[in-house]
């Protein structure tokens, strides 16, 4: 295997870089830009943003919930492919999945008992 085999990749990197830079440049030149007050407001899901203090602090619990959601979400994601090939994997797959779910269950119990799911103190 020689380095020359990677030449196409190098070319691709160069072309994509040129394309990205060029398209941003060209669109900024060609596009009509007429600023209005509403356009310059920060966009936030239809809510008019608070004017007083932009650096509003969110409770850290938002992040905690988000993280917990992702962890347990992945569990579900893993269950889908297993369900598709359930027949082929048979007992082996079942055992593997049970191990997986038990570990997550332990995590769940831990989070629950430590108060990770409670919002108010």
């Amino acid at each position: 295997m020689t380095l020359s085999a990677y030449l196409p990749i190098l070319l691709l990197i160069i072309i994509s870089t040129i394309f990205a830079v060029a398209s941003i440049f060209v669109s900024s030149k060609l596009a009509p830009s007429r600023w209005t007050f509403a356009k310059r407001l920060p966009y936030e899901c239809g809510i008019v943003p608070e004017q007083s203090d932009e650096r509003e602090r969110f409770p850290v619990k938002f992040y905690l919930v988000a993280m917990l959601f992702i962890i347990f979400d992945i569990e579900t994601v893993f269950l889908y492919p297993w369900a598709v090939v359930y027949q082929e994997l048979a007992v082996f797959g079942l055992i593997e999945m049970v191990v997986f779910i038990v570990i997550l269950l332990a995590a769940y119990v831990y989070v629950w008992r430590r108060g990770g799911l409670e919002w108010a103190e």
């Binding site: 380095l3 990677y6 831990y110």
Partner: protein, 507 residues
């Protein structure tokens, strides 16, 4: 669609790791179910049980020589030696940690669980026969350590250390990943060994042995990135910047654990990767490793001289020690591997002992970590001072301590490999290093303590750990034979069946 055949489930190789993971989970669950109690003695007991069991599993596979789990896990003497040592390090950490946590009212089940997980990751590092597994192991113990470094939840320095450690650690992981990717590009696999047929079962070793004429340029490039990733973990210059900060901010028992365990695990990976798998590429990686070793020895020793915080001082000393051990890696011979193992095991014990003393002396909230705090320690607490002296002498490599014999075997290996000039630098930096160990001793013995000597509460567990490590430091210094023999047996890396004719070790 091809018929699915479930892979063979062989758990012997990873039994210690699984034991530790399960113990960690049980520990967490039991603690949350039992709830708050004034004295949670069962936590260290459970952690101890898990570590002992893991060590026993590792010992039971002593002498095996095979690959398991589709060639991802090596089951060889090398892995067993490292795993047993790591289990011991874990035990000592848990015991010192218990006293420390109780004193500072920080005790939580997470501490023990994270230590167990970190040990599991480190063990996996030693057994990994696939770069992906190695990365997995690296991340497992690194993430556990990031949290452990920040375990002094009220302390800003602890948080800061953890943040620095985490950011730089993540950065180095990226390099390691890049190295893996390039290796895959060069070899077509991330397996270290691979099968006998390099086409159907590719691996680095089989790639190198069966296609000697192959273009290894990309693999050499990959090697460079792998060195960066692992060099970070062993705190080699120029990837050492995190070390003093992380060591300073972390709770002292964890600092000791990082110095002993992280270094051992990362060096285990380095030894397996460079001295076994990439042995035939040594002409390419040696110059790089030599440069790193020389820089590490010099920078570590010289910068330690000006420290006046004992944890920072020991951090720089640990950098210097990484350099000394790298001389054994450079040697790339049997003596080098066994020497490095011996060195790492005895260094680990000495440094754990030293940090056990530090965590006792530092007192509530680690208020007393300046060197000035050690003034007159001998007159107030002779036993602690004598123990710390012993550890420092071992780190300095003075005879009758294990550290001396470690230095002898490591330097000896490099001399044997005709790298006497690297050893000469090692010798000079050792002399510089002796200076700052002496500095601590001067404080303890030759200066009067300032003000009132406050009584130090010395927990029974911490005292036990100090005693064990002190006895081991002297014991392995006077009778290094058994440990050395074990280390020499452990130089038997997994060898792909002899027909391929590739000896993993030469010299």
């Amino acid at each position: 669609m091809p018929e699915f055949t479930p892979p063979q489930v062989q758990l012997a190789g990873v039994a210690p790791e699984i034991t530790l993971l399960v113990s960690a989970l049980i520990l967490l669950i039991v603690d949350t179910l039992i709830g708050e109690r004034p004295n949670r003695w069962f936590l260290p007991v459970m952690a101890t049980a898990g570590l002992v069991l893991a060590g026993a599993f590792a010992a039971s596979t002593w002498g095996d020589n095979e690959l398991q789990l589709s060639g991802a896990i090596a089951l060889d003497g090398f892995a067993s030696f490292v795993k047993i040592s790591l289990a011991v390090f874990g035990l000592l950490t848990v015991w010192v940690g218990r006293d420390y946590l109780v004193r500072d009212a920080l005790e939580d089940s997470e501490f023990y669980a994270l230590v167990l997980l970190a040990v599991a990751g480190m063990m996996l590092m030693a057994a990994a026969a696939d770069l992906i597994i190695m990365f997995l192991a690296l991340e497992t113990f690194s993430i556990a350590l990031y949290v452990l470094v920040a375990f002094k939840s009220g302390s800003l320095t602890s948080q800061e250390s953890a943040m620095k450690y985490f950011l730089l650690g993540a950065f180095s992981s990226a390099f390691f990943l890049l190295g893996i990717a390039l290796t895959y590009g060069a070899v077509g696999s991330t397996a270290l060994y691979g099968g006998r047929d390099p086409v159907s079962e590719p691996g680095i070793a089989s790639f190198l042995s069966t296609s000697p004429t192959a273009n290894t340029g990309l693999l050499v490039l990959a090697t460079g990135f792998l060195i960066i990733g692992l060099g970070f973990k062993i705190a080699a210059v120029p990837f050492h910047a995190w070390t003093p900060d992380a060591y300073q901010g972390a709770p002292s028992p964890i600092t000791g654990f990082m110095a002993a365990g992280t270094k051992f695990a990362a060096f285990a990976a380095i030894l397996r990767l460079f001295d076994a798998t990439l042995f035939s590429l040594r002409a390419e990686w040696r110059p790089l490793v030599i440069a790193i070793a020389v820089a590490t020895m010099i920078i570590g020793s010289v910068l330690a001289v000006v420290q006046d915080d004992i944890k920072r001082l020991l951090a720089y000393s640990s950098i210097a020690h990484a350099g000394f051990i790298l001389t054994a890696v450079i040697a790339a011979n049997d003596r080098g591997v066994s020497g490095a193992l011996f060195y790492l095991a005895t260094y680990g014990l000495a440094v754990l002992g030293a940090f056990a003393v530090v965590s006792v002396v530092s007192g509530q909230d680690e208020a007393r970590v300046r060197l000035a705090g050690y003034k007159g320690l001998f007159f107030d607490h002779p036993a602690l001072a004598v123990a710390l002296t012993l550890f420092l002498l071992s780190l300095a490599g003075v005879p009758v301590t294990a550290g001396f014999f470690g230095k002898l075997v490591v330097f000896g290996a490099a001399v044997q490999a005709s790298y006497s000039w690297v050893v000469a630098i090692g010798v000079i930096t050792s002399a510089i290093a002796a200076f700052f160990y002496l500095k601590i001793m001067v404080r303890m013995y030759l200066e009067e303590s300032e003000g009132e000597s406050s009584p130090l509460p010395i927990g029974r567990l911490a005292a036990g750990v100090i005693a064990i490590t002190a006895v081991a430091t002297i014991g392995f210094g006077v009778v290094p034979g058994p440990l050395l023999r074990a280390a020499e047996d452990a130089t038997m890396f997994f060898q792909p069946a002899p027909e391929t004719g590739q000896a993993p070790l030469g010299g």
